[in-house]
């Protein structure tokens, strides 16, 4: 189809509208589906949905402690969500965020432990930060290299690697450096980050800490990298059309390998939130599914850094809200809701898009050219693989 040359201004407005519809509507549909399932579960348990949802909101955004916990949980989820989103932008599915997060936190805790007491905070924090990035990046490098070199499915390799890395970390902690009778390492000597309580006393008791600033910085950094730099452009090109990118001179395998390392580094940095900001040691199982939730965060956030931050807040609210409503309904309801949100988003997004496109082409809103192309396609013979050439006068 020839691109339209004299497009009226209203077409541009319609395009923006269509774009907004496409990015807002599908997640909304998904949330409605999740809410309905939630209602059903609550009613099965003999409670009133209104009460439960009110309790959920009051226990999270309604008081400083709950809000602090939401911020804390959203911080880790932002990192793992960014990690997954970056991978998907390059056409890679990083399911290894869980173990990358754990090994990032582990190395940060080790470096903090190795430094002498009284190390200047700037030096100590930067050293821990580099260690976390290195820990996550190293785990990400393996599937990246295997994908680039052998074409091994990164999905399977990252899943399998999760088990291997977590078992290895468990072994090291259990056999060599745990505090006796616990499953965690000794407390770090240097590198702790201040909690938000020290600035806003209201947050007392919550784990929220300054790592959340780092998460926002990471989101901004990923945005800048993806949309403002040449490597970021290449990464997106590989994700959209690997063959075309290769033809255009991009070395696809190298981009894949580098992306997996970057993705692993982002997930690894998430470990700082727990280790530097909260407990000041590495503990077995601290990742607690945040790596897997990162997939949900990236998906609902449409793989855009801003969307990831918003989605991280959403899932953090759900997760903390589960604890808030546990007296009324089992907190496990939240796990079900999280899964339903993922399934609904993954199925509703393409469906709603198709429906929107169909509605647009039949009513003539939006790009008129594509509307005509659509009608031309409906007239083509069933066996033709190519659309009929534009034969308008």
């Amino acid at each position: 189809m020839t691109p339209p040359t004299d497009r009226p201004a209203s077409d541009g407005v319609a395009r923006v509208r269509a774009h907004i519809e496409e990015s807002i509507l599908p997640p909304l549909v998904a949330l409605v589906i999740a809410a309905v399932v939630g209602d059903v579960l609550i009613i099965i348990f003999g409670q009133s949905p209104g009460d439960v949802y009110r309790q959920l909101l009051e226990g999270t955004w309604g008081n400083a402690y709950g809000f602090g916990q939401v911020i804390y949980k959203a911080t880790t989820l932002t990192f793992t969500g960014l990690a997954v989103a970056l991978g998907i932008r390059a056409g890679l599915f990083n399911i290894g965020a869980e173990s990358q997060l754990a090994s990032g936190g582990f190395l940060a805790a080790l470096v903090g432990l190795a430094m002498p007491r009284g190390t200047p905070a700037v030096v100590a924090v930067v050293a821990c930060l580099l260690a976390a990035a290195a820990g996550g990046g190293a785990v990400g490098a393996i599937p990246g290299a295997l994908k680039a070199r052998f074409g091994a499915s990164e999905v399977i390799v990252t899943i399998m690697l999760n088990f291997v890395v977590l078992a290895l970390l468990n072994y090291i902690v259990a056999a060599h450096i745990h505090v006796s009778e616990t499953l965690h390492t000794p407390e770090m000597n240097a590198g702790a980050l201040p909690r938000l309580t020290s600035v806003f006393p209201k947050f007392a008791g919550s784990a929220a800490n300054t790592t959340f600033l780092l998460a926002i910085a990471a989101a901004a950094g990923v945005w800048w990298f993806l949309f403002k730099t040449r490597p970021g452009y290449e990464l997106r090109a590989v994700g959209l059309q690997p063959d075309a990118a290769e033809y255009g001179g991009v070395r696809v395998g190298t981009v894949w390998a580098k992306t997996m390392i970057l993705s692993g580094m982002l997930a690894g940095l998430g470990g700082l939130n727990y280790v530097l900001g909260y407990k000041h040691y590495y503990e077995e199982g601290f990742a607690g599914g945040s790596g897997f939730l990162g997939i949900a965060v990236a998906l609902v956030g449409r793989n855009h850094p801003v969307g990831v931050v918003i989605a991280a807040l959403l899932f953090a609210t759900l997760s903390q809200g589960g604890l808030a409503v546990n007296a009324l309904v089992p907190k496990q309801m939240v796990d079900v809701l999280t899964a339903v949100v993922i399934i609904a988003v993954a199925t509703a997004v393409p469906e709603v898009r198709r429906a929107l496109a169909a509605a647009r082409s039949s009513s003539g809103i939006g790009n008129r050219e594509s509307g005509i192309a659509e009608s031309a396609r409906t007239q083509e013979p069933p066996n033709s693989r190519f659309p009929i050439p534009d034969s308008r006068p």
């Binding site: 091994a152 088990f163 259990a174 997939i295 796990d335 899964a339 993922i342 993954a346």
Partner: protein, 291 residues
């Protein structure tokens, strides 16, 4: 030695069931990331069925029905709505964890385990290794794998399954209803994986939260390590189970840390994927949606 073999067979049983399901699903082109979730659902439903009916056999039926239900949801999302199989797979596993925990609270008012349920054989390992041979599911597990091999290579349906996973467009053009074949394959995988879960629940005489403990992924590892071929996958299942048995038996000697034994299936699978010991080539249309 015989005790060792019997214990290996016993540990391999859930792998054999779940891997058989994994083979059918993946050969039809649907990624079998959900085996773990199907297993957990099956284990819970089997416990429910056995508890309320008092018969482990009805427990098996209930377990299979639960796995089937989960599989149909998976098929609806990935085949009917063409959603991404990996995303849905991860979500289904999460859903299984959440749903079983939620209904564990609802049905048995516990957040960790069900009460004791009627099952097969002695509940404790101490009651002698031979008692596990009395568990009909151990034999069914082997038979099931043989049946899957026969189904895949000796029946028209098996041919259609393989076509749906290798060249769905070609299969469509000669009139194979690819999407229906995939629905059936996913249903079979759900039922098989649920049998694996039922075995666990009925063997231990209770359901415990998260009792599948990654066994679904070990089964998936066996499918890949066994190159999607029933015979090789059987060997892979037995191999992984033998390593575990060895670890249990030599635990007191502390020769190798248990964590390293846990890694074996996963490390072998990664190596197999990298092509060091003969490249593992997956079905060509694995993970691809069909219109």
């Amino acid at each position: 030695m015989i005790a060792f073999l019997i214990q290996t067979l016993r540990i391999a049983t859930p792998y054999l069931f779940a891997a058989a399901g994994g083979i059918v699903s993946e050969r039809a082109g649907i990624i079998a990331l959900t085996l773990e979730g199907f297993m957990l659902t099956g284990a819970f439903c089997a416990a429910l069925g056995s508890y309320y009916s008092g018969s482990p056999w009805l427990g098996i039926v209930a377990g299979a029905a639960g796995g089937l239900l989960a599989a149909l949801l998976h098929a609806l999302a990935t085949i009917r709505y063409r959603a991404d199989q990996v995303v849905i797979g991860i979500a289904m596993n999460l859903l299984a964890v959440g749903v079983t925990r939620f209904f564990l609270r609802l049905a048995f008012d516990s957040s960790s385990n069900s009460p004791r349920i009627p099952g097969f054989g002695g509940a404790q390992v101490q009651s002698g290794v031979f008692s596990s041979l009395a568990n009909p599911l151990v034999w069914l597990g082997v038979l099931n794998m043989v049946a899957v091999g026969w189904l895949l290579y000796r029946t028209p349906f098996g041919l259609r399954v393989r076509a749906a996973g290798e060249k769905p467009e070609a299969a469509l053009s000669v009139g194979v209803p690819v999407r229906r074949v995939r629905w059936l394959a996913v249903a079979v995988s759900g039922a098989c994986a649920a049998m694996a879960g039922s075995y666990l629940a009925l063997d231990q005489h209770q359901f415990t939260d998260g009792m599948t403990a990654g066994r679904g992924f070990i089964a998936l590892a066996a499918v890949i390590f066994g190159k999607w071929d029933p015979k090789r996958v059987t060997i892979a299942c037995l191999l992984f189970a033998a390593a575990e048995t060895m670890q249990i038996r030599l635990q007191s000697l502390q020769l190798v840390p248990s964590q390293f034994v846990e890694m074996i299936p996963y490390v072998l699978t990664i190596i197999a994927l990298a092509g060091v010991v003969g490249r593992a080539a997956q079905p060509a249309a694995l993970g691809k949606a069909v219109d």
